[in-house]
């Protein structure tokens, strides 16, 4: 007998990481070519309050609905008002907490934090409801400046951790002297991913009131490659995150699919619950540190601060029908097949039209389409356009082609069934799932009946195929 899977909850852990921007892929490459770029970047970073109060952040945390951004003039920072760091869907943490948690998740003594900074991180984390005594124990007393000098001098390659002020606060050493898959920058990336996903999962379980020991399985759906040179990307971060969140009776696995990894993982989690293989499955995704500062040049040209300074982790709980949480419609999973063709129209026909046809629904029967939700203020200055809007126009265009709306109604359809982008450019995080908290609220409160989550993956980036990928899952209100 199968069980209808529902999504019980979602939680996000955002971390402001301005000091780590220099370790983003684009900034670090540019700094290697021209060290003066580091100073330019440091001069254009936002303080924590600005990142916290930025309206798209408050939408992510659930304090504002996405539609609220329509009414605010851009740049959205001008409309910022002092706001709490915690909202209905998660929190945004300052950098000292993030770095403390990175150290707390470091089981191989790869990270050393300077003694004074470690004390600051300890004080901040001691007051955090989700930090554990084990975190504080692993944080330790910190290292002296001389210790940091020794670590940074080698022979194992290392990188320095600094705050935007330039203050050195730590060091990360490589996990091996020559293995590039265990280089210091790779391990920093993976430890940040682990920390953000772990905090999101802790927050989710606390919010849901679910004993961590009742989680049976964890699917990690982020893009980061955990492994060594003989098994690059071999995984398994899921189990490390499960351990960090106290899920002592869980194991798990990593599900990879570029930006559509989380939606693939949701479909898999629902299937595992439906088949009664497991009762509670958590889908997690950590941050993409490599994407910090990815488009900083555009921001600087536009006179903006470096807006890609926020890392995001996510956790989603899938379980058996509880009579109130939105159902995952496993009978209408949209998939972009090998034979479907790679045009935008072909991809969105596979992800939108096919599921609708299978369920006998019209485009307007879906209250909201959650697609690529990158914040346009992050992408437009570098010429990448408004990504959500591009996607919504194609969806509306398909509705017009099928004569469900008139061509003149395309923009109205986009406005009614789409939303402005509000997500940091955090890879897999930005695809569909930032809306999940709003979707669960709306579907539970009865204001909405259906939400379609759809995500695309750029498989061609890995040079193994020219194809893209995509998957969609329909969420439906539980009560009639």
């Amino acid at each position: 007998m199968s069980s209808t899977p529902v999504i019980r909850g979602v939680r996000f852990y955002l971390a402001h990481a301005p000091g780590l921007v220099v370790h983003g892929s684009k900034p670090s490459r540019d700094i290697a070519r021209d060290p003066a770029v580091a100073g330019t970047l440091r001069g254009a970073l936002r303080p924590f309050d600005a990142a916290r109060d930025y309206p798209p952040t408050q939408v992510f945390l659930g304090a504002l609905p996405p539609e609220a951004l329509h009414a605010r003039p851009r740049p959205w920072a001008d409309a910022a008002v002092p706001s709490p760091r915690r909202g209905p869907h998660g929190e945004i943490a300052p950098e000292e907490e993030l770095l403390g948690l990175i150290k707390a998740g470091d089981e191989f003594d790869l990270v050393a934090l300077e003694r004074g900074f470690a004390a600051e991180a300890r004080a901040a984390l001691a007051a955090h409801p989700l930090a554990t005594p084990a975190d504080l124990a692993r944080l330790g007393k910190g290292a002296s400046d001389a210790d940091l000098d020794t670590r940074l001098a080698g022979p194992t390659p290392a990188l320095s951790l600094a705050l935007p002020s330039g203050r050195r606060v730590g060091a990360v050493i490589a996990g091996h002297e020559v293995d590039q898959t265990l280089a210091a920058d790779v391990l920093l990336e993976n430890l940040a991913t682990k920390a953000t996903a772990t905090m999101a999962l802790r927050g989710l379980l606390a919010a849901e009131g679910l004993d961590p020991a009742r989680v049976d399985y964890v699917l990690n759906s982020g893009e980061e490659a955990v492994g060594d040179r003989y098994q690059r990307g071999g995984g398994n971060l899921a189990k490390a995150v499960a351990a960090g969140a106290g899920c002592v009776r869980a194991t798990g696995v990593d599900v990879k699919g570029f930006c559509c990894g989380p939606v693939h993982a949701l479909a898999l989690a629902g299937s595992l619950v439906a088949a009664r293989t497991f009762e509670h499955v958590a889908v997690v995704a950590g941050c993409s540190l490599a994407k910090l500062g990815m488009k900083y040049q555009g921001h600087l040209r536009a006179g903006q601060p470096v807006l890609e300074d926020v890392l995001v982790g996510a956790a989603i709980l899938v379980g058996p029908d509880d009579g109130r949480s939105p159902r995952l419609r496993l009978d209408a999973v949209g998939r972009h097949t090998v034979g479907a063709g790679s045009s935008q129209k072909a991809i969105l026909e596979a992800l939108v039209v096919e599921p609708l046809e299978r369920l006998g629904l019209k485009f307007a029967d879906v209250d909201r389409y959650a697609t690529e939700l990158q914040n346009p203020e992050l992408t437009e200055p570098s010429g990448s356009g408004d990504v959500p809007l591009l996607n919504y126009r194609v969806i509306a265009g398909l509705a017009a082609l099928r004569k469900e709306i008139a061509p003149a109604e395309v923009e109205a359809f986009v406005r009614r069934h789409g939303m402005p982008g509000f997500s940091p450019t955090q890879g897999h995080i930005a695809s569909a799932i930032p809306y999940l908290g709003h979707a669960l609220d709306g579907l539970r409160a009865g204001a909405m009946r259906r939400v379609l989550l759809l995500a695309k993956g750029s498989l061609f980036l890995g040079r193994m195929t020219q194809m893209s990928d995509g998957l969609s899952v329909m969420l439906e209100r539980n009560a009639p």
Binding site: C259, S342, V387, L390, S458
Partner: protein, 42 residues
């Protein structure tokens, strides 16, 4: 624009027009597509 006999580099993007579609249009208009790529800008 007359593309006959011209060499074309087709750079597409995932969320817009993919490189393959640009290349097909250019080739259909008589151009020689010398490079075709699709990028993801997010």
């Amino acid at each position: 624009m007359d593309l006959k006999g011209k060499k074309v580099i087709a750079l597409g993007e995932r969320d817009g027009v993919q490189g393959g579609a640009i290349a097909a249009c250019a080739a259909g208009a008589g151009a020689e597509v010398v490079l075709e790529k699709t990028y993801c800008f997010v």
